[in-house]
């Protein structure tokens, strides 16, 4: 049970976890375990033949792994550029999958939550999406998959550097945890920088959705552990969880404060939420970044009672669904690039139709 005429978009939309995400502030998390196999050079210095061997070795075992539900193998050479981009968007990957070709592969689980990348950065990168603030169980599951593969392969490991990864800044545990928080309140009340500084000292870095720490698209901030070496897996999870819990509280405080301050006033913030609503409901064409920034304000308005008729689930899904590859896959048609921003507008109108502005 492997190959893939079946495209990954339809496969992943069976149970797309992003469609059922009711979170207001802690939007979700991703966990990745990076591993290489002993006795093989890392993928960047490995011949195509050997990379194919690794794909075959790892995929055979992963496909029949009992804890994965209906996993499917997608070989790099069989995926279109659009499908690769779709996977990057869906799994919020920090790197591009465009170079995936012969000798690279992906294994997806039907749940749409689990992805194994073979020979991309490392021989094996196991990732999972988590929408329930359930970092420990998600990691245990990844470790479980990693351990059962360990019966068939040995991982590159040294007592000094831990698990050896192609990127030395990920050696040690090889574990990267990223938490996505929607922090519009802290941004508007200008308290983000203070938080960034504080948590940087605790070994947590931040960036925007595109990886640029200075551009917070849609006010979504990705917090990631800076240390992978010299810490335990538990240290990583607990420090990032502790940070996220505190920031969620701080964000709630900021939102309450903004609501109290602006609720009964003629205010600039109300104007911004109204304009965001106007842009989303009435634009003829719209680019992703503009849409995400406007949706951020609408999501905030929804949370403090300035907008109703829609849910966080709808808006959270739209955060994904309006991005390029998601949108193109959704329409399942080739369209000229200048049409895409028009289609995006139409799609947003349709999804947000029930939304009402109460201010």
């Amino acid at each position: 049970m492997s190959q893939n005429e079946n495209d990954c978009y339809s496969f992943l939309t069976v149970n797309n976890p992003w469609k059922h995400n009711p979170n207001a502030i802690w939007l979700g998390s991703t966990l990745t375990l990076n591993r290489n196999l002993e006795k093989f050079n890392f993928p960047g210095k490995l011949s195509s033949e050997k990379r194919k061997q690794i794909v075959s070795l790892l995929s055979t075992e992963l496909i029949k792994h009992s804890s994965l539900k209906n996993p499917m193998l997608y070989k790099g050479e069989n995926l279109t550029p659009l499908q690769k981009e779709f996977l990057v968007e869906h799994f919020l990957s920090h790197h591009s999958f465009h170079q995936a070709h012969i000798g690279e592969a992906f294994i997806l689980e039907e749940s749409g939550e689990f992805l194994a990348e073979i020979n991309m950065k490392d021989h094996l990168n196991l990732s999972s999406i988590d929408l329930k603030e359930d970092l420990e169980n998600v990691l245990s599951r990844l470790v479980n998959v990693e351990m059962s593969l360990n019966k068939y392969v040995n991982y590159s490991f040294s007592p000094q550097f831990g698990y050896l990864t192609a990127d030395p800044t990920e050696s040690g545990t090889g574990l990267i945890v990223t938490i996505y928080l929607h922090l519009l309140g802290l941004r508007v009340t200008e308290r983000l920088d203070e938080a960034f500084k504080k948590y940087a000292e605790e070994g947590i870095s931040h960036s925007g959705l595109q990886g640029d720490p200075n551009e917070m698209i849609g006010d979504i901030i990705a917090f990631k552990n800076l240390y992978t070496l010299g810490v335990t897996e538990e240290n990583i999870l607990s420090s990032i969880r502790s940070m996220a819990t505190k920031l969620v509280v701080e964000e709630k405080v900021a939102r309450n404060h903004l609501k109290q301050e602006h609720d009964n006033e003629v205010s600039e913030l109300k104007d911004r939420v109204s304009r965001a609503y106007g842009i989303l409901m009435h634009s003829y064409q719209i680019e992703t970044i503009e849409a995400l920034n406007a949706m951020s304000l609408l999501k905030f308005g929804l949370d403090i009672g300035w907008v109703n008729g829609i849910t966080h689930e709808t808006l959270n899904y739209l955060f994904f669904a309006c991005r390029r590859a998601y949108l193109l896959c959704h329409f399942e048609e080739k369209m000229a690039s200048e049409n895409l921003s028009h289609k995006r507008s139409e799609y947003i109108h349709q999804i947000l139709k029930p939304a009402t502005l109460l201010i």
């Binding site: 831990g162 545990t173 992978t228 680019e287």
Partner: protein
């Protein structure tokens, strides 16, 4: 006439150093006569050193690493220069060949915990799990985090958020068999309050 912009998934500004793959810290513009060179670099880019101080990359590496600038991994051919630039490593053997350089680079990039930096000689640096080991994660970590946040809100006298956090804690403890009071937490002022729900 409406302008037709090509659809771009990502902004057209480069996000990575033009030389290595680290995040950009510096935009460097050099104007010589009519020539304008525009480069984006990371903060510790050897290329930046070269542009600013005129030292060549080799000199810079030599000055950083002492002798052995021509060092390369005998197994995969990854050179010291590549390691210095932050390129990916080629194989496990690179970690033996470049061990000291890697630790220096990781430290310079702020990717070593203070614990390792303080006791660098006391290697091994890795303290996480090893292959074959099962992972034991504290099942009450969510509770610990909530409790920690609760203590902070009580210190700030923010009782509204404290009440919300207590509800979360209550919901969690009722749902599971976990002890109602998480073990070994910081003994903050709010602890007694949190015990009382």
């Amino acid at each position: 006439m409406l302008e037709k912009k090509p659809e771009r998934h990502y902004s057209d500004r480069p996000l990575e150093c033009g030389e290595c793959k680290k995040p950009i810290a510096v935009r460097y513009t050099e104007i010589v006569g009519n020539n304008i060179v525009d480069i984006t670099m990371c903060s510790d880019c050897p290329e930046l050193q070269r542009r600013l101080y005129g030292t060549s990359l080799k000199d810079y590496i030599q000055s950083q690493a002492g002798v052995g600038a021509a060092l390369e991994c005998g197994n995969c051919g990854t050179t010291l220069e590549e390691v210095k630039r932050g390129n990916r490593l080629g194989c496990s053997e690179c970690y033996n060949v470049f061990a000291d350089v890697l630790l220096n680079e990781l430290q310079a990039a702020g990717r070593l915990t203070p614990r390792i930096t303080a006791g660098r000689k006391g290697l091994p640096a890795h303290i996480g799990r090893a292959p074959g080991e099962t992972i034991a994660l504290n099942p009450s970590s969510r509770l610990l985090a909530l409790d920690e946040a609760l203590n902070e809100t009580i210190k700030r006298e923010d009782y509204e958020q404290a009440a919300w956090l207590r509800d979360q804690i209550k919901a969690l403890t009722e749902k599971s068999d976990l002890p109602s009071q998480p073990p070994e937490t910081d003994k903050g002022e709010g602890e007694n309050e949190s015990k009382r729900k």
